[in-house]
């Protein structure tokens, strides 16, 4: 089995961003057999959790394929201007979380996912009103 390791780093040590901030970071891959990696997808996205079914929105998406002559072992930098909505929210039954997610597609249909979470905005956690 070909183990794939994804090392990801966000440049901002405090994982709280404001709308309109620039999010920057980098990732690199390590694998026993780099040729088995078919593609890498990097997304900056939000997704919901809680009582409802999951909603997801992708703000930034980038797919890298080996035929582009890329070296997956080298550090790859990314940056995107963060949007104004939706803001991170720790609601009672609706929660919205942001993350940078790397998905590595390996030969044979296997996928490896790594994500780094961050907060967008400073919305306070609500309390239920009876």
């Amino acid at each position: 089995m070909n183990a794939v390791d994804i090392q990801m780093r966000l440049d901002n040590p405090e994982p709280v961003y404001l709308p309109g901030d620039m999010l920057t970071g980098s990732y690199r891959l390590a694998a026993d057999d780099m040729s088995a990696i078919k593609a890498v997808e990097l997304s900056v996205l939000w997704c919901t959790s809680g009582k409802g079914d999951q909603d997801m929105g992708v703000h930034f998406f980038e797919k890298r394929m080996p035929e582009n002559g890329l070296d997956f072992g080298a550090e790859h930098r990314f940056s995107t201007l963060l949007p104004h909505s939706p803001l991170s929210f720790d609601g009672i039954i609706v929660k919205i979380g942001w993350c940078v997610r790397a998905r590595v597609l390996v030969a044979g249909g296997k996928e490896v996912v790594h994500q780094e979470s961050f907060r967008l905005g400073t919305v306070a956690a609500p309390r239920e009103v009876s």
Binding site: S43, D55, P86, G109, V129
Partner: protein
């Protein structure tokens, strides 16, 4: 770090299922065109009129799993292409039906030895029909595979689009455009648009629209009531006819009681909807500004008008989380996370007050299954016991960057 195994075969299998189903439905449609539509169209438009003599007639019978089926057949003699032809025929498509009586009636309309018009195929004079026309009922049945084909093709397109794509790629390809520009371009995604159906208010800048559509509610209630009571009335008529014959079916009557009670309840719901539309028209709710942002103060105007007097009136500004599980048996869940009373009953028909969106409050958010909704709730009691509530959603945007319209 987490690893998971995606299952792209699921959308692939679904696409394959849709493709096979679409092929079967297409085959059925092609067969229908070949066996029904083309023969009837040719008989109506290409066949040449002639005259024939009926030499014999019979009721043809075909036995199947569901019992025998019938169709009329006539032995006719006619001249075509310089030759005399004899054949058993009736119409262009030899369809058997289950009703013996109706087919016998057709048979009785034609007398042996009499002369009638007939139509023969110029490409094959040995083929002829005694009647022309279209089998519209059969075409209606043909709509079923047609609708199935459309449904399967839509499914095929959907699953084929998904095939081989990750959830993130799917979301990136289907992401919506942002809301109306408030100085932010398309960066305010998933914040609902301003509802400007009612446009400007009389007292304040914006008039809000209620999230309820009483006319549609009434239409839905009337439709369902008609369907339910129509179905129940069939069985009630069976039970009633038993009583009239002096042979009452007690079991059926007892069985029908809860269904009749539900039907009566549905009629009451319809009546309630009519009372709501005529007696308790939605109040007028106006805001001084929209969209709002946290820390912003806004003026609110509410006017209630009858004809039924609404008492114990309360006007609240509410923020609710709304979660919609997709399972059919799971109801929508709501949790109230902010509530501020703006004004209460003081005997007048008009109310004004100010409210503020708290600092750090969540903005309006709307996705497919999850929502954060801000609204003005006007509630009260009509004719002493009817509780009525109207909700008037408005938009709160993230603070700092949005330009508020005043």
């Amino acid at each position: 770090m987490s690893a998971d195994q995606s299952e792209p075969w699921q959308s692939g299998c679904a696409a394959a299922f849709c493709a096979v189903g679409a092929l079967v439905a297409s085959g059925f449609l092609v067969f229908m065109v070949w066996a029904l539509i083309i023969p009837e169209w040719r008989a109506n438009n290409v066949f040449i009129e002639s005259s024939c003599v009926i030499l014999a007639k019979r009721l043809a019978e075909s036995s199947g799993e569901d019992g025998p089926t019938y169709r009329p057949e006539f032995l006719i003699r006619y001249a075509a292409d310089g030759k005399i032809h004899e054949l058993w025929t009736y119409d262009a498509v030899a369809v058997y039906t289950g009703s013996r009586r109706s087919q016998q009636e057709i048979l009785d309309q034609f007398a042996v030895g009499q002369q009638y018009r007939c139509w023969y195929d110029p490409d094959d004079p040995g083929r002829a029909v005694l009647v022309r026309g279209y089998s519209w009922l059969m075409y209606l049945f043909g709509l079923i595979p047609l609708l199935l084909l459309v449904f399967l093709l839509v499914g095929l397109r959907h699953f084929w689009f998904q095939f081989g794509k990750t959830p993130e790629m799917m979301a990136a390809l289907t992401r919506p455009a942002g809301g109306p520009d408030a100085g932010l371009g398309d960066s305010l995604s998933y914040v609902p648009d301003l509802d400007l159906r009612y446009g400007a208010g009389n007292r304040l800048t914006f008039r809000l629209a209620s999230d309820r559509a009483p006319a549609w509610n009434l239409l839905g209630a009337v439709g369902f009531t008609l369907f339910w009571n129509g179905l129940v009335s069939v069985f009630v008529s069976f039970a009633a006819s038993g009583f009239l014959r002096g042979q009452p079916d007690v079991c059926l009557t007892v069985f029908l009681v809860p269904f009749v009670v539900v039907g009566a309840g549905l009629l009451m719901v319809c009546l309630w909807q009519v009372v709501m539309i005529i007696g308790c028209r939605p109040p007028i709710v106006e805001l001084s500004a929209q969209p709002l942002t946290p820390t912003e103060t806004c003026r609110l105007y509410v006017a209630v008008h009858g004809p039924l007097r609404v008492r114990q009136l309360r006007v609240l500004v509410i923020c609710e989380e709304i979660a919609r599980p997709s399972k059919l048996d799971s109801p929508t869940i709501k949790k109230r996370i902010h509530q501020a009373e703006v004004c209460t009953e003081d005997g007048s028909l008009e109310y004004q007050g100010d409210f503020q969106i708290p600092a750090g409050a969540m903005h309006s958010f709307k996705a497919r299954h999850n929502e954060v909704q801000w609204h003005v709730a006007v509630s009260g009691t009509a004719v002493r016991w009817l509780d009525v509530t109207w909700n008037f959603p408005f938009v709160v945007r993230p603070s700092g960057r949005a330009r508020t319209l005043r």
